[in-house]
């Protein structure tokens, strides 16, 4: 099927767009122009490819999880090892790209927001490498539950600002980052960490992460002998999922499944699954599915994973849901945690809590499908940052 989104104004069907204060419209226009000019520029692309290969460590392997496949007794489980990237998650793919854009735009300061800290670490990392000043906004609650990443950012020379307004999580960090950008638009580049926010961010973050899917287009025929049957990825804002899905959107035989954070269950108020249990609305510069109350106030969310604990989602996912090209499910905290332990013990890979949600759903799916079917799970990040959260939840003292 033909797929050419977003349109010139950044719309994915009825979603996306630019819903921001006037001060940001011109910087967004300049960013759009710069990206349009650079995205096909051979020099820029060569720089990007060089960074992805020699700094990030790409391509990431496609690993056949044979013991897990045997344990689950169904479809073949393959893991796209984004956890092996420099800094330990897919987030670096996008920050390398955006930092190059910042450099080409002559900006000297980058700001970022972060939930679990992976995007903050990736931003601080690339800022250190390029000699840019870096400020990272992080909800005060997330600063608490992701302390190893906070320390990592500080070691890298970034200033981490705990955000105490609102719910003190990712959505409030995003508000603060937008405020900083409005105030410092002249010298500052806002590195958005997911495929949400105003156009062109959902598009450019997608394009930078689509390297994941493009590698699979080569790796799957080589390793599996054909394209996979299902791609499964977790969805908070949705950057790892869209990066994996995007090159496959036109390939009807490949099913795309996004896994949201079900928290304590989508029949409770304590989850972070806007596609599964939210409604269309406007938040953080774009129209998309969000979680809001009957008066349109943004809801508090809950997930065991700070990286998924967000009331919105990228607008392209909203469109893929409505158009039926992808389907979205929710996995609760407990199931994600069980999958975390299973992968760790059976394959010797400690996954982040985010992709543990995707794994948990892959398990459900695997048992429904025969061994001649192939499921690729985007293992979007490693779990080092989450061990304190998990230990605390399980009542284990690490000190």
């Amino acid at each position: 099927m033909p797929y050419d989104f977003p349109d010139a104004r950044g719309h994915f069907g009825p979603y996306g767009g630019q819903f921001v204060a006037e001060t940001l419209m011109e910087p967004l226009a300049r960013l759009s122009e710069a990206y349009a000019r650079l995205k096909d520029d051979p020099t820029f692309l060569a720089e990007l490819d060089n960074d992805l290969k020699h700094y990030v460590g790409r391509p990431s392997p496609l690993y056949h999880a044979e013991r897990l496949t045997a344990k689950w007794g169904g479809a073949q489980i393959w893991l796209k090892r984004e956890d092996l990237n420099h800094t330990g998650a897919h987030k670096i793919n996008n920050t390398v790209g955006q930092a190059l854009l910042a450099k080409h735009l002559g900006k000297t300061r980058i700001i970022a927001e972060t939930g679990a800290g992976q995007h903050g670490v990736a931003s601080a990392t690339i800022a250190a490498r390029l000699g840019l000043k870096c400020v990272v906004y992080m909800g005060a609650e997330d600063v608490e539950r992701q302390s190893p990443n906070v320390y990592r950012m500080k070691l890298l020379g970034a200033e981490v600002i705990p955000v105490r307004s609102g719910t003190q999580t990712l959505k409030d960090a995003l508000n603060e980052a937008l405020r900083d950008w409005v105030t410092n638009v002249d010298d500052t580049f806002y590195v958005i960490g997911t495929v949400a926010g105003p156009h062109p961010y959902p598009m450019l973050v997608r394009d930078f992460n689509a390297v994941v899917g493009r590698e699979l287009l080569v790796q799957c025929p080589a390793r599996i002998g054909r394209m996979p049957d299902v791609l499964v990825a977790c969805v908070g804002g949705g950057s790892n999922a869209i990066g994996m899905f995007h090159p496959f959107i036109g390939m009807d035989g490949v099913e795309l499944v996004g896994v949201e954070a079900g928290g304590y269950g989508i029949d409770t108020p304590d989850h972070a699954a806007p596609l599964s249990a939210g409604t269309p609305g406007v938040l953080h510069g774009n129209k998309t599915y969000i979680m809001a109350d009957a008066d349109g106030q943004i809801s508090n969310t809950h997930s065991i994973s700070a990286g998924l604990d967000y009331p919105g989602v990228g607008p392209e996912h909203a469109w893929l849901k409505d158009s039926g090209r992808a389907r979205y499910v929710a996995i609760n905290d407990d199931a994600a945690l069980a999958a975390f332990h299973e992968l760790t013990r059976v394959e010797g890979i400690i996954p982040a809590l985010e992709p543990s949600h995707a794994l948990a759903y892959a398990k459900v799916l695997a048992t429904e499908l025969g061994p001649d079917r192939h499921i690729v799970v985007n293992l979007s990040g490693r779990g080092d940052k989450d061990i304190f959260t998990i230990a605390k939840r399980e009542g284990i003292s690490l000190t």
Binding site: R9, G17, Q18, F19, V20, A21, E22, T23, L24, M25, E26, P27, S165, G166, K171, D172, L174, N175, L178, R179, V182, T183, N184, V185, D186, T279, P280, G281, V282, L283, H284, G285, I290, A292, A294, D295, G296, Q297, I298
Partner: protein
């Protein structure tokens, strides 16, 4: 456009009257329901008593991205006190029972309006006696889907113009706007540092080159001196965070707030009228 001229009757009349008197509009902002919906109507009347020509009434939102901490906290107080968009509209109705003249502009973010339903909101706002609507996160590029519904009910679409807005874009915004243009005097959020009056004078002069719509200036105006300086170059002066700060400080004794707001506005009014 005919819809837009009818959309801003009370606002146009206000600016025409001020022009005839050789005065400038004083436009205070407060957040509806802050500190409690029970106080808001008295505070609105207190603003008029202090010399307000137009009232900007904030529709509280959980995530006011373009506002600073002062207004975010005001939104949090208002929401905690049970303020909803429906309740905000009811406050305007109640205000209208004793003040048929002072224009009221609702200011806020899109999501509560979307959830209310745009057409239902426009009907209710019109019915309540609202004159204009300023949706902070609605850029003119996305406005096609929203403006006809507002203007058909006589609600003036107020738009922000910022120091980063190129002049060609100002012209586009002015084509869609009615009532007044709200010139954001500095890059930053509400409640930010004091503004540079000379820069504002230059920018407002540039705006006048492309539009006839009155220009009100806001963000960073807190002293009578600054208000007077801005009034010399613009058609209106918007004052927000400094009033909201007063409300925040008086939360424990809300009965004293109306007199305080009246006094603050009166000082601004005197400075502006003195030229």
């Amino acid at each position: 456009m005919s819809t837009q001229s009818s959309a801003s009757g009370r606002l146009n009349a206000t600016f025409a009257r001020l022009r005839a008197d050789g005065r400038k509009a004083l436009i205070p902002y407060i957040t509806a329901g802050d500190p409690h919906p029970g106080h808001s109507v008295a505070l609105m009347h207190a603003l008029v008593a202090g010399g307000a020509d137009i009232i900007e009434l904030g529709m509280p939102f959980s995530d006011p991205m373009a506002d600073g901490p002062v207004i975010q906290l005001a939104c949090e107080r208002a929401l905690k006190a049970g303020t909803t968009l429906r309740r905000t509209l009811a406050l305007v109705s109640e205000f209208r029972q004793t003040d048929a003249q002072t224009p009221v502009v609702l200011m806020g973010y899109l999501n509560p309006i979307e959830r209310f339903g745009l057409a239902d909101f426009a009907d209710a706002a019109d019915h309540a006696g609202v004159d204009g609507v300023l949706i902070v996160d609605l850029a003119v590029e996305e406005a096609d889907a929203y403006l006809p519904t507002l203007t058909a009910r006589g609600l003036a679409p107020i738009f922000l113009v910022s120091p980063t807005t190129p002049i060609a874009r100002v012209a586009t915004i002015a084509e869609h706007a009615a009532g007044y243009l709200y010139y954001v005097s500095l890059k930053g959020v509400t409640g930010a540092a004091n503004l540079d009056v000379d820069a504002v004078a230059t920018q407002v002069a540039a705006l006048r080159g492309v539009t006839q719509i009155p220009v009100a200036v806001g963000f960073g105006i807190r002293s009578p001196e600054t208000a007077a300086a801005v009034a010399r170059v613009a058609d209106g002066v918007v004052v927000g965070s400094t009033l909201v700060n007063q409300i925040a400080e008086g939360v424990d004794q809300p009965d004293g707030l109306p007199a305080q707001l009246t006094a603050t506005l009166a000082a601004l009014r005197r400075a502006m009228d003195a030229g």
